[in-house]
Symmetry: C2
Subunit: 178 residues, 2 copies
DNA sequence: GTTGAAAATAGCACGAA
DNA sequence: TTCGTGCTATTTTCAAC
C-alpha cells in the first residue's frame, strides 16, 4: 500500500486523492459555470444574441483583434462547442398558430416504428428520448386543431399520446451560465 | 337578405361565402405549408442551415441578386418572421453533462412565485406554459445529478416536480414545412 | 495575439422590368 | 413593387511577426 493512500487528517482521504478530485471538477464547474475561458464565453454569448455579428464587431465587443476572434470561433466550431448558426423563426408569423408538447408512449414492440413516424412528420419540430413512462417528448407545430388531430391520428394505432397545448413562454431559449 | 347568402348547390353555403373561406385559408396552408412565398421560404431555410451565410452566397443559393435577398431578409426581420440569429451550442461540450425535462406544478397560490424562481435559475434554459395538470414544462441543463437536486430543491417548497432525464434526441430542432 | 495589405462583401443610390 | 447594376466603405482572410 502506497503512503498516499493512507488516511490523512481524519477525512479518510489522502492529500493526493483530494487533489485529484479537485482536478476532475474544474473551479468554474464548482461555481456553476461552463468549461469555456472568459474570452470564449464572451464570444459565445455575443453570438447567441446575434449570430450575424461581423468578426470585427465581435472583436470590439471582446476586446481582441478580428483575426483572433475569428480563429477562436473556428476552433469553437471544430471543438463541437458551436454546432452551427441558426435563425430564430416565429412560427406563428408564418401561419402556424398552435404549438404543443406531446408525450408519446409506443405500444409494446412499436418503439422504433413510432420513432420513425415522428421523424417523418415535419410538424414535429423537436423530439427528445427521455426516461420515465413516456419514452418520447416531442414539440409539435401546426396551423389548426384539425391539423393537430391529423398528425396525432397517424400515431394513434401505435402509441398512446398526451398532448399539452403551449399557452405561452416563461423562459425563452437561452444558454446556461458560461 | 342578399342573394349571395342563399343556399347554393346543396352545400348550405353561397358561392361568395365559399370563396371567402378559401381566401382565409391560403392554398399553401391547405397543403401544410407556411405563408411565405417561395423566395422567402428558400431564404429562411438557407439561413436556418447557416445563419452566417453572406448575402452574396445566399443570393447565389436562391437565384437572386444580393441587394434583393438582403432587402428580403430585412423585411422578414421587421415582419417578425425572423426574430434573430443564434448559435447552436452543444451544452455537453462545455461541461453540462445532463439535460432533463421537468414538469412543474406549483402549490395553490404559488404560480407566480414558482414562475419567477424558474426564470431566475439560469439552469432552466427554456420553459413553456402549457395546458393540463402541470402548468410549466421546463428544460434543465446541469453538470451533475447533484446540481440537478440543488436546482429542484429550490422549487420543492412551492411546487411538485416530475423530472425526466433526456437520454438522446430523435428529432433535432428543425423548422416546420415552409 | 497583433498588424497590415489584398480580395471579398455589404450597403446605398439609381435605373429597369 | 420588386429586382438588378455600379460604386464606395467595410470586412474577411492571409501573411509575417
Amino acid at each position: 500500500m502506497r503512503s498516499d493512500h493512507f488516511i490523512w487528517k481524519g477525512k479518510g482521504y489522502s492529500a493526493r486523492f483530494l487533489a485529484m478530485l479537485k482536478a476532475k471538477t474544474p473551479k468554474n464547474l464548482q461555481s456553476g459555470k461552463s468549461t469555456l475561458d472568459e474570452a470564449d464565453a464572451r464570444i459565445v454569448a455575443a453570438l447567441d444574441s446575434d449570430a450575424r455579428l461581423s468578426m470585427s464587431e465581435l472583436a470590439r465587443l471582446v476586446g481582441m483583434s478580428a483575426p483572433s476572434v475569428s480563429e477562436r470561433v473556428r476552433r469553437l466550431g471544430s471543438a463541437g462547442v458551436i454546432r452551427g448558426f441558426t435563425v430564430d423563426v416565429d412560427t406563428r408569423a408564418i401561419g402556424y398558430q398552435i404549438r404543443a408538447m406531446v408525450r408519446i408512449r409506443p405500444l409494446p414492440g412499436k418503439l422504433h416504428l413510432v420513432e420513425k413516424l415522428i421523424q417523418e412528420r415535419p410538424e414535429f419540430v423537436e423530439c427528445d428520448k427521455i426516461t420515465g413512462d413516456d419514452p418520447f417528448l416531442a414539440r409539435l407545430v401546426v396551423h389548426s386543431i384539425e391539423q393537430m388531430d391529423d398528425v396525432l391520428e397517424v400515431l394513434s394505432e401505435h402509441a398512446v399520446t398526451s398532448t399539452a397545448v403551449i399557452k405561452g413562454t416563461s423562459v425563452k431559449r437561452r444558454l446556461p451560465p458560461l
